[in-house]
Structure formats: C-alpha cells, structure tokens
C-alpha cells in the first residue's frame, strides 16, 4: 500500500509533505496552532501511548481478581486508577474458552487508542473492515490465529464513542508470574482480538 511517502533523495519533497507544510503555515500564521505544541502531540503519539499501556492493564486483571471485576464493570474508571488518562466509554470484554471477542470499526478507525496507541494500517484497511463482521473466523485463520470451532466468536463493531478492549485469556503455565512478566505476553493484537496472548516461553524471562 502506498503511504504517499518521501522516497526522494532529499532534493525533492513529496506532494504531501509540501501540502501539509502549507496547511501548518496557514494555521500557524492565523494563530490557530503552535508548531511546538504539534511537535509535542506527535511525540506523545510516537513515544508515550502504545500497547505497552494496555498490556499492563491486562496483566493487572490477570493477577488481581478485584481489579478484573472493576475493569469489566467500568474499564475507564479502572484503567485510570492505574494512572492512565483514558477517555470515557471504554468497555473491556473478556475472552473465555467458549467465547472469543474481536473488535472492528467498519465505518472508519475507532480503536481504544488511549491504551493501545494509534491503530495499525491493516485495522483501518478495507479488507479488515469489510470482512471482520461477515467472516471473522476466516480473518482469524488468515492471520494465523486458531480459535477452536466450538468457540463462539463475538465481533464488536465500534459504531459510537464506546471503545472496546479485549481481555485475552491468561496463558497456561504462568502461575506465580508477576505483572511485569505477564505483561510481556500481552500483544496488541491479543487486545484487539485478532491474536492470542503469547505462550510462556515467548515472554520475558
């Protein structure tokens, strides 16, 4: 897929680079934006928010039954007790041996960014958005995720301002692990429901 990227040798800027630079100049001259604040917003997206935050929330839920109940009751409130700044209307949905949850936004790109960072390109792409609601089992199979045929698949289409975070199943063989070690097993995709948590041998020692 094209990202309208700069592929030049430095002597030529892409059309998009020029266009966005023009936009930023106009808005700065009008006093609507401050470029140094835009820098900070970009930096926050690049460095501060990301799936490592969601992984800590999941690891805590795996370790602390009270926190897990609180998370399933009101995910925004529970996540914010850990020091995050999660917006309203976050809902955590729990995977079990008989139920696999999977999140999509068929209309665009709604995603629990507060805890997972910005969505990957595939999540926003036509193939995922079109097929996740009609053939979720096929999509999972294609992504190499095996969900047993008896497991019911529940797809959550994010059509309003509610955001959904999948609470994946805790892998077997992790008894006694601390939260930090457990968090190393929690992938971004496992919190979207397009993956599973990693096996113990794939985690940090």
């Amino acid at each position: 897929m094209s990202h309208d990227d700069d592929h030049g040798n430095g002597s030529e800027l892409s059309e998009m680079t020029l266009r966005v630079r023009a936009l930023e100049t106009i808005l700065t001259e009008k006093g609507y934006v401050n470029p140094s604040v835009l820098d900070l917003i970009v930096e926050t997206y690049e460095k501060k928010i990301g799936p490592h935050n969601g992984a800590k929330v999941v690891a805590k839920a795996w370790s602390d039954p009270e926190f897990k109940s609180a998370l399933l009751a009101d995910a925004t409130k529970a996540a914010n007790t850990l020091g995050y700044s999660v917006g309203d209307h976050l809902v955590a949905v729990e995977n079990t041996p008989t139920l696999h949850n999977m999140v999509v936004c068929t209309l665009c790109s709604c995603y629990p960014s507060d805890l997972l960072g910005l969505p990957p390109v595939w999540y926003k792409s036509a193939p995922y958005r079109s097929r996740a609601v009609k053939d979720p089992r096929g999509v999972l199979k294609e992504l190499g995720v095996s969900v047993p045929s008896g497991t019911h698949i529940r797809v959550w289409d994010s059509t309003a301002e509610t955001r959904f975070l999948v609470l994946p199943m805790r892998p077997a063989g992790t008894d006694g692990w601390d939260e930090e070690r457990l968090a190393s097993l929690v992938t971004r995709d496992s919190m979207i429901g397009t993956g599973l948590a990693k096996a113990p041998e794939q985690g940090s020692p």
Binding site: S2, H3, D5, S14, M16, T17, L18, R19, V20, L23, E24, T25, I26, L27, E29, K30, G31, Y32, V33, N34, V37, L38, L40, I41, V42, T44, Y45, E46, S85, V86, D88, H89, T106, L107, C108, D114, G117, L118, P120, V121, W122, K124, S125, R129, S130, R131, V133, R137, E142, S149, H152, R154, V155, D157, S158, T159, A160, E161, T162, R163
Partner: protein, 219 residues
C-alpha cells in the same frame, strides 16, 4: 449516507495484510496531520462527527486509493473551507492572506497536550427515559439518510437484542450537521450471524453495533 466508507460485509477487498514492525507514522507529515486535526478540533474548529462526515463525502475512488492520513488531510482542507477558516487562495499559496476568524478557544499550549489526545466525553444528562432495557428484542430501522449516520448498512432492518445500555450520548447524525448534540440513548445491540448474513452463515458468530435509540424500534 450510503458511502464507500460503510464497508461491513463487502467482498472483494482481498486479504488482511499486517505490516511487520509497523511505525506509528510512515512519514513525518502523517504525524503533523493528526496533530493539526486534534489541535483544531479542541479549539472548536469542528467536532469529530463533522470531521467524519467530511471524510465520508470524499469521492469513492479517492477514499479507496488515498492513504488514511492523505484522506484526513483532505478532510481538514474541506472543513477549513466550509467553516470559513481558510480560503482556496490561502491553500493555493500556502500562507495566510486574511485575518483569522475567532474560534471558541485560543491555540493549544504545551499544557493541553494530554487533553488534545484524550478522547472526548460524549455522555450527557438524560432528559428522557430509555425506551429499551437489557434483553429486549429490537429491530434496527431501514434508514438511508444522505447525511452522516452511524448505523451501518449491514445492520439495517435486522432483529437483535439489547445487551448494554450505555447512557445518553451525543447523537452523531445531528452533531455532524453542526446543529447541536441532540443526545439520545445509546445501546449495544447484538445480532446473530445468520440474522445478518443468512442461513448459510456461521451460526457460531454474533456481531454487535452501538446503536442510538432513533435507529431502533421494538421487535
């Protein structure tokens, strides 16, 4: 509107192709686009639903071929023009030629960054009782407005069950038109796979949407 953005259930788009070690942004300009979008939204240049509406109105061929942030950049330009915040001449020459139209709030400062990034709050105090409760059977209406809506085509005219009552929230169909919040009750409605996709479909799947009360009727 029945636009190309409403993709649920379509065939023919090919495989889902994850990119290994995908960066947050694929080029620096992408980061500038999202930062501008957030910063302008937070000072009242537009609301999220107006932004979505602007993107959904892009010609289908452009929507399908432009990258995500290219499409966003075009949406920002559209809104700047429609809101009278910049002119075509200014976009052409890449600088401000006219005085700025005042917005609700001044430009964001470094202290506002967390606020700019955190999702907004769409809950509003309820001024009416909810028509439905958890467990109720409902039918989604067959609505085809030519303006913005969050009721996807694949889930129109279908019978489902109320699973969550989320509360009273800003109604995107109104908010996108810039006519105020017009809050409505919001529900998670779950549909069986066969209700949506017919008798040949996988019986062991279900799909939910979040539906505002005006999208629903008792079944």
């Amino acid at each position: 509107m029945n636009g190309i953005h409403d993709m649920g259930g379509m065939d023919g788009f090919g495989k889902v192709e994850p990119e290994a070690n995908e960066p947050v942004f694929h080029a620096p300009w992408e980061g500038r686009v999202i930062a501008i979008m957030r910063a302008m939204g937070r000072i009242g240049a537009w609301n999220l639903d107006m932004f979505r509406d602007a993107r959904e109105r892009q010609p289908a061929a452009f929507y399908l071929t432009a990258s995500y942030y290219k499409s966003w950049e075009r949406s920002i330009e559209t809104l700047l023009l429609s809101q009278g915040l910049a002119s075509n001449d200014e976009l052409e020459v890449g600088r401000s030629l006219d005085s700025a139209k005042p917005l609700n709030r001044p430009a964001l400062t470094a202290q506002d960054v967390a606020y700019a990034i955190r999702r907004g709050s769409y809950g509003r105090p309820a001024s009416a009782a909810a028509l439905f409760k958890v467990g109720d059977q409902v039918r989604s209406k067959n609505l085809n407005p030519t303006s913005h809506t969050r009721l996807p085509r694949y889930a129109r005219g279908r019978i489902g069950t109320i699973e969550i009552v989320h509360g009273y929230q800003v109604f995107p169909d109104s908010s996108a038109l810039g006519v105020g919040d017009n809050p409505q009750w919001l529900y998670t409605v779950v549909f069986g796979g066969r209700e949506l996709w017919g008798t040949d479909a996988d019986p062991a799947i279900s799909v939910s949407i979040d539906a505002f009360e005006p999208y629903l009727e008792a079944a």
